[in-house]
């Protein structure tokens, strides 16, 4: 019975998880290492890597500041409408990526609210880098806040209150008392946020305009190569993203083992 259940579970995971993962690297290297290296050092691929890194470098710090502010307000104070606020923070998780991109087109696109004014000022947001950054920020808004809120709630307010009573100001309290307590959860949120920021496809696809070498992120570059039937190159670029996913999972495992002591925290995590 026991081994039958293990066998069945592992067969399912093999079919839907392990084989797809392995196939990415297999297809990437099938035509040899030269083709692989050529695909990821192609100028268009390099510019896609740069844009992906740029978008993540803007989106992750902004959402980090947001996550800390939101978690401080929600976890350390009691106020009305708190549950509604938590639901609103979660909202981007439940919106389809395509819709996330579309709403920015409705505001900044040529036919959008600010479109005509932006055109006069010669500012391009949609089909340009700012649109990609905005869409990336939108889809990654909840990640860090969601990790920090349950963690900071579980830790209560006594330590911070003691610090304030002893004469520390707000920033000192945060940096010397709160931050050390939540550092692993914070790191975990940053890792997840970064993975999603670099991997987002649907939302970015709507606002990007797919201009090679200029508004193409790594996932969009994968799509272009694939649609050109350049499968080896598509999988080569995809393998970079798969490696990023594996590094993310490895870091997650490390952070979780650091957090083992905090049961309430791991219980809260449902993985959305």
């Amino acid at each position: 019975m026991r081994w039958a259940l293990i066998g069945l579970a592992l067969s399912f995971l093999t079919l839907f998880l392990f084989v797809p993962l392995i196939s990415v690297f297999y297809e990437a290297l099938k035509k040899g290492i030269d083709v692989y290296v050529a695909a990821i050092t192609d100028p268009d691929a390099v510019s896609a890597i740069q844009l992906t890194l740029t978008a993540a470098a803007i989106a992750v710090p902004l959402n980090l500041i947001f996550g800390i502010a939101a978690a401080w307000a929600i976890a350390k104070f009691e106020f009305r409408g708190k549950n509604l606020l938590i639901t609103l923070i979660d909202l981007p998780f439940s919106v389809s990526p395509v819709v996330s991109g579309l709403i920015y087109v409705l505001i900044f696109g040529l036919q959008g609210w600010l479109g005509p004014w932006l055109a006069e000022q010669d500012i391009k947001i949609i089909f340009a880098v700012p649109g990609i950054v905005l869409a990336t920020i939108f889809v990654t808004v909840p990640f860090i806040a969601r990790e920090l809120i349950p963690l900071m709630q579980a830790q209560g307010t006594e330590e911070e209150e003691a610090a304030v009573v002893l004469g520390a100001n707000g920033w000192q309290t945060f940096f010397h008392v709160t931050l050390p307590n939540v550092r692993w959860g914070l790191l975990y949120g940053v890792i997840l946020c970064n993975a999603r920021a670099m991997g987002e496809f649907g939302a970015v696809s709507v606002v990007s305009g797919h201009i090679r070498g200029s508004t193409n992120t790594l996932p969009l570059h994968v799509e272009i190569l694939y649609n050109e039937y350049n499968f080896a190159a598509a999988f080569a670029v995809a393998s970079l993203l798969a490696l990023l996913a594996l590094v993310t999972l490895a870091l997650k495992t490390v952070v979780e083992s650091k957090n083992k002591g905090n049961k309430e925290y791991t219980d809260e995590y449902t993985g959305t």
């Binding site: 947001f66 104070f77 919106v95 036919q111 959008g112 449902t270 993985g271």
Partner: protein, 277 residues
């Protein structure tokens, strides 16, 4: 409590909440409201016509049908995987546990092309189905495969902590009182797990409905047959039919909000059940 906020000696509330609300409004709430405001320019009849054309209705059927089937498969196998991970020891267990989250971490476009290559007629997995006359890639079945992949971690990760918390004493007591293993599972374990299982199912279903990246590669995207609703939004956008695209987006947003509400209620129920257990 008559005041908005309870008194606290801690500083920074106004700054933190003010920044949170400003950021959320600028990035999330105002842009989302744009979709509703744009659609308000349509009359109700016009809106209804746009969101119920035969092609759109076919896309709803596929999106919801495939999402439901995928979430159902994930409920069954997710429960099984969670059970195996919590109750049994086997070599490589830690690695398997870590890899369950792969669909969260792997960009959807990568999942899409990998699954397409595997389940195509000449792919590693598709070649076994081809002789049986079953085509997976470029059919609605392919959509189901992609959505199963995307939703895989949800049930595992909601059921796992509840299963870890079930006390061995409870099962031992049941066994002592003469229950066999099937009775213990169906009378003791399953009722305790049920709220978490349903929550995981709802999360997987909600995620699948909006999914785009992994599906478009494997679906084949034939109108009326294998075209999902999010793709239809893109198609309308590419034809500069902004109003049509937005009307469909509003339908999807309303569905997302309803799902979010249901999931919140389920999580609340699940927590209460665990607190009283």
């Amino acid at each position: 409590m008559h005041t908005f906020k309870q008194h606290s000696v801690l500083p920074g509330f106004n700054l933190a909440l003010g920044f949170t609300l400003l950021y959320l409004s600028l990035i999330v709430l105002i842009p989302l409201s744009a979709a509703f405001i744009r659609t308000a320019s349509l009359t109700w009849a016009e809106f209804w016509d746009v969101v119920t054309t035969p092609r759109v209705l076919a896309s709803y059927r596929l999106t919801f049908g495939a999402s439901f089937a995928a979430a159902l498969v994930n409920a069954v196998f997710g429960l099984l995987v969670a059970w195996v991970l919590v109750r049994y020891r086997f070599p490589g267990k830690k690695l398997v546990d870590a890899l369950v989250d792969l669909p969260f971490a792997l960009p959807t476009a990568v999942a899409g092309i990998a699954l397409t290559a595997l389940y195509a007629g000449n792919g590693w997995i598709g070649q076994f189905f081809e002789p049986l006359g079953i085509k997976i890639a470029f059919t609605p079945l392919g959509v189901f495969v992609a959505l199963t992949f995307i939703g895989l971690p949800f049930v595992v990760r909601t059921v796992q902590p509840v299963l870890e918390d079930i006390e061995a004493e409870l099962e031992e007591a049941a066994a002592t009182l003469g229950a066999n293993r099937l009775q213990t599972f169906s009378r003791i374990i399953f009722p305790t797990l049920f709220p978490a299982l349903i929550t995981g199912f709802a999360l997987a279903f909600a995620r699948a409905i909006g999914e785009y990246g992994s599906v478009i590669f494997i679906a084949g995207n034939m109108p009326m047959i294998s075209e999902i609703t999010p793709l239809l939004i893109i198609t309308k956008l590419e034809q500069y039919d902004y109003t049509g695209a937005t009307a469909l987006a509003v339908v999807m947003l309303i569905i997302s909000f309803v799902m979010l509400l249901i999931i919140n209620l389920l999580q609340w129920w699940s927590r209460r059940r665990r607190a009283s257990a």
